[in-house]
């Protein structure tokens, strides 16, 4: 076999071993081993001029590294950070270029030195077969039996069985830590901050909106009253409660019978959270009455209860039923009647 020749040629101290593969099918080499490619003499070995040039190149790289490191120190003082954003740009750029040159100079110089000037003779490393010889295997079994005898592992049943018990129990505390992946959201995805009577307010100031302020073609970005005063979970609540308020001509709206009371004189409010993956849907086209989501271009038709007309979303945007209170401010009639945002398993 050709591998026997290979082992001997490498001068391996292992004895020649006739590997019996057992049940494995051993096929002969399909491709003849081409051996090592013929040695090609480098220019730096043939010509002293090239050798000197290569040596100069290597030391040039190392000098460039010194220059680069010095440049980055200079840049730190030459471009102090000021109010002007250009100073940030210059500081970052020259500091970075200096450090890059400092490190790459060493790396490229070292690699070039090894490639051009260090010896390039080919060396073969032996690869031994994994299976040990029979003598080695027998000796190994002897050692294991000795260890067993001296430690008393097989003989002492109580020690052995209590050790098994300890090993079985010690990973259990780690499994308990998975409990910290919670808490379980429960039904928090089904409810938002909106309740009966909550005023619609402008994002981010929180000032309430009068119905007369909303003119045809305008778009208001709405948060519920009280959101800005929340102490905990403000962003989580905002991420569910964000609403878009638009006004259309009442004649343009095709409302279902049971939703006619959800709008007020052509003013409609829809959840701003896309039912696809949850981006804020706020690209409102005033004349085509389309609401476009910027992430994956789901398009909703505001005249038809925000049904999907294009794109990957499959469900219409939930509508917030609105009314007007005694002072003329817009209020919610209740929470959304379905969970807002993308689908989830229990929806």
């Amino acid at each position: 076999m050709s591998d026997k020749k290979g082992l001997a040629a490498a001068g391996s101290p292992e004895p020649e071993y006739d590997y019996n593969g057992g049940l494995a099918v051993i096929s002969g080499d399909k491709m003849a081993n081409p051996g090592i490619e013929p040695h090609r003499v480098r220019m730096t070995d043939k010509s002293p001029k090239h050798e000197k040039a290569a040596a100069r190149q290597v030391s040039l790289m190392f000098f460039a590294s010194v220059f680069g490191s010095a440049m980055s120190i200079w840049a730190y003082f030459a471009f102090p950070l000021t109010e002007d954003l250009t100073s940030v740009r210059n500081n970052t750029l020259w500091l970075g270029l200096g450090i890059t040159l400092g490190l790459m100079g060493i790396g490229i110089g070292a690699v070039h030195w090894a490639k051009t000037l260090m010896p390039d003779t080919e060396v073969t490393e032996a690869r031994h077969i994994t299976r040990g010889s029979d003598e080695v295997r027998a000796r190994a079994i002897e050692i294991i039996k000795l260890a067993d005898g001296e430690s008393g592992f097989s003989r002492r049943k109580l020690i052995r069985r209590s050790l098994y018990g300890a090993l079985a129990f010690f990973p259990l505390p780690a499994i308990m830590l998975f409990g910290d992946l919670g808490p379980n959201p429960g039904d928090s995805l089904r409810h938002t901050m909106w309740k009966k009577g909550t005023r619609l307010t402008k994002d981010p100031t929180g000032t309430p909106i009068k119905a007369s302020d909303v003119t045809i073609g305008s778009v208001f970005h709405v948060i519920p009253e009280g959101l800005n005063e929340l102490e905990h979970h403000k962003l989580e609540e905002k991420a569910k409660a964000a609403v878009l308020l638009v006004r259309l001509e009442p004649s343009d709206l095709n409302e279902a019978e049971d939703r006619k009371s959800w709008s007020y004189d052509g003013i409609v409010a829809y959840s701003k959270i896309c039912t696809h993956v949850g981006c804020p849907v706020a690209l409102y086209e005033q004349h085509t009455h389309s609401l476009l989501c910027p992430c994956h271009q789901s398009t909703f038709d505001v005249t038809n209860a925000c049904k999907v007309t294009f794109g990957p979303a499959t469900r219409a945007l939930p509508q917030l039923p609105i009314a007007v209170d005694s002072e003329g401010y817009l209020i919610a009639q209740s929470d959304f009647t379905e969970p807002v945002g993308p689908s989830f398993w229990e929806r």
Binding site: M43, K115, T116, G217, V219, L283
Partner: protein, 265 residues
Amino acid sequence: MAFMKRKATGSRRSPFAAVLVMAAGLALTGGGYAAATAAVESSTTTVASAAQLEDGRKLFLANCASCHGSNAEGTASAPTLIGVGAASVDFQVATGRMPGQASGPQLIKKPVQFTEEQTAAMAAYVASLAPGPEIPTAAMIEANGDSTRGGELFRINCAMCHNAVGAGGALTEGKFAPALKGVTSQHIYEAMVTGPQNMPVFNDANLTPEDKKDIITFLKFVEENPSAGGYELANLGPVVEGLFAWVFVLGLIIAITIWLAAKSN
């Protein structure tokens, strides 16, 4: 008159006191009402000279009436201009969008076809038809507001269409939100208050004149100051930046890797 005779009996009150009190009462209640409703109907029509209105009317009939109707009442090709205000006309004409060139998903900015006087005349004429948003004053559009607050308002109301720093973005079916670089403060204000084409209307109750000034300040700041992060790559965001990294940086890394393993000459 009776009130003048009253003085003779030694009253310290002037005979005109009643008139003054009535006038003060009227001024207080009338002024209060006007201020309260000024937020949404943001215009008192500025008085234009009769000559300017006549010029405007002639220009309108010659250039706009074919689509917008001889009384600006609108036709099948174009909407009514009654109530759009001087701000609308100034924005559309002075940016070159009007006279509209071809019907399609959106009107494009073209070379401006009218002089400033002509634009002002047409704006005054249209404003005279019915009250509407006025051209903002120089104080309203000066970029000395709060750019931080303007940035927050821009990100909430505008960035989804116009990009986080106003580099523009795509809408459906061939429409687009144009880049805001190079747009004058006056036109930015007018676009916000009139809502041209498919852009929503941001009336003064939604974004107060103070808010609009802050937004203009933010946009001018972004336009004038270089990005602290280096070359902006047209501010188009992660796709462009990723392309740059994959093509140039990864290309450089591959080149170095090939050199690293190659034998020396």
